[in-house]
Subunit: 418 residues, 2 copies
Amino acid sequence: MKIEIINIGDELLIGQVINTNAAWMAEQLNLSGFSVYQYSVISDSRQHILDALAEAEKRVEVVLISGGIGPTKDDITKHTLCEYFNTKLVFNSAAYQDVEELFTRRGYPVTELNRQQAELPENCTGIPNKLGTARGMWFEKKRGGGGKTIFVSMPGVPFEMKTMMTEYVIPWLKQTFNTPFIYHKTVLTQGVGESFLADRIESWENALPSHIKLAYLPQPGMVRLRLSGVGPEENILHNEVGTEVLKLQTLIPEYIFGYDNETLEGVVGMLLRERDATLAIAESCTGGAIAQMITSIPGSSTYFKGSVVAYSNEIKEQILGVHAENIKEYGAVSKQVVTEMAISVRAKFKADYAIATSGIAGPDGGSPDKPVGTTWIAIATPYDVYAMQYLFGDNRERNIRRTALQALNLLRKNLVSQ
Amino acid sequence: MKIEIINIGDELLIGQVINTNAAWMAEQLNLSGFSVYQYSVISDSRQHILDALAEAEKRVEVVLISGGIGPTKDDITKHTLCEYFNTKLVFNSAAYQDVEELFTRRGYPVTELNRQQAELPENCTGIPNKLGTARGMWFEKKRGGGGKTIFVSMPGVPFEMKTMMTEYVIPWLKQTFNTPFIYHKTVLTQGVGESFLADRIESWENALPSHIKLAYLPQPGMVRLRLSGVGPEENILHNEVGTEVLKLQTLIPEYIFGYDNETLEGVVGMLLRERDATLAIAESCTGGAIAQMITSIPGSSTYFKGSVVAYSNEIKEQILGVHAENIKEYGAVSKQVVTEMAISVRAKFKADYAIATSGIAGPDGGSPDKPVGTTWIAIATPYDVYAMQYLFGDNRERNIRRTALQALNLLRKNLVSQ
């Protein structure tokens, strides 16, 4: 059984909105054992929607549509769905009650636009929307050769679509289909490029069994290695993939920081929590990015004390107590200064561990001695303090990201070694 | 002339990577007056690539392919392109020289994998890749009824693809085609929901000329209103859309913070720079997110002094000097504490303006009195200090984002009023 996703929205086609919905939908479907064959982004226009539905119907058994329904007037999807399924809109009192309840709870009046949203195609099953005013729609259409194709229309607003997928669409699909078993395991690496990784693990990769595939997923500062296995027996498949992961661990132990949906900030948080230890950060070039990553984890207040973003020399001196003569002699981007920053923030915040960063993120501020991308990272621990120098690239955003990841991985390695 | 984008990659179809490439490509093509008709994401498999190319060839005149070429073995695109265009791979010495130069510059040895990447289909024009090892490929295929369809294959690594698009593909497309004129103007609003905005501007929207369309683009914490005009005369179209934007400014002045690709952090930075003023931040619930936004802007060090992320009461007291009795009496999430945080960080960092945040981001930490989403924001200026309370939702990530945007917009309003 194959699924196709259609995202409707002119805003996607002019690139003002990134299609995060498709990625999320595909991920959730995969986790449930469903396979996404293709996804397409099309415009908010009648003929394009009709064409895309007809093409998808030829390719797959389930078509999931997101976008093009909502309270405003750029939405013609519902009318086009009526045309495609040869039906008409009728007022749905359950849908209207949901909208009324939602608005009463928020203390808002119901508008005429919201009232129109309670009209649904006559032949669909409405799907409740707990977080918004547009219901989802589940259609079943008979196929020529027998069986049926399922079409589901959902809102484009991400959190509304996500709740609807999780609570209704995926459970209903599970009820309807018996899916083959697919198992993915992703090994997360930091600090090594794709080509060199490929050379290091070449003979392991060549020896993989044919039903297990490997994919390289590079991102700024990390490469993810995804193993995908297909097979009839869940337990056997888990074991087979697990065995390959174990082999990989012995080949490149220094680069692996986690698995699947883990993040460096999550792994570091877990390690700190396990050790009952706390963290403080002094950020210069990363400008708050590391603190923001750390605090994106729920419950991080148990191990994260806080951070100082010292974006000027003045603040490095006055708030962190870095010696002015060190800044003068070695520059703010130096081993001396970043080490002082780490020691100082650890002491001031009474933390067990501290990270400090100082670098030239760019695009300006570089010199022949210290070009853009020059970065110092220091780690202070209950036992020692040390600093490492890196030369990243010339892109500000990527330099900030790579510095943040590298700093978290340095701390992680320190934590696991103790 | 219509363009279709095909992104190749199993990693996209299982949702482990978000398709930011398509959004970026579409945006750049639109800015150059090209129109993207559709984009599709397909798997890394021969038959699927062949099918997608054949389908796209029926729909559009230009097919831009991203992904499926690179140094590792999950890449079969190049061989499939040879099959589709009925040609074969030949060693390209210019391509090999590029790879050699890139590796020499980085001090890396050239691997056998890299050598294979210098093989290109015989009938294509190679497109230089300054940042990676895989060249792009430009194919032209004659159409039955005359004319030709252009196919371009590019790497999937975002910064390699972006440089290739900007420096070669878009200029070459401009040389090849005479495009109709499209003009987009996006009005950015913060602090108001989509339905209420729609009601407020209904009569203006109904009176729009037929060649100017409006789209609502909601995001957590903001709604973007995009006007899209099509017409033969660039200047007239700019004026027509400009006139409608002016009308909108008089209808909803309190919500508009900027236009097009502006960001709140960029607008605030510009206003601070114009006033020769500096900013400091004390963040609790936003955990560094505001500092990270501010410092994402190149040159922000001229107006941003720094930030304290005070993630525990202890740090609020010891680093920011908030009175322990205030935290005890009113709680950390209170008007008193957030006001003290703003005053203190402004004084300690010797800044002209300060932002402070304190809230319950969730998922835990709520109480009947102060449910998850309860947030206080304070602004301290050279003239005064004030605090506002908000009740956001129950999603941690969205609460952090909405708090950060609301805080920046409060500061923006203060700056423009002076």
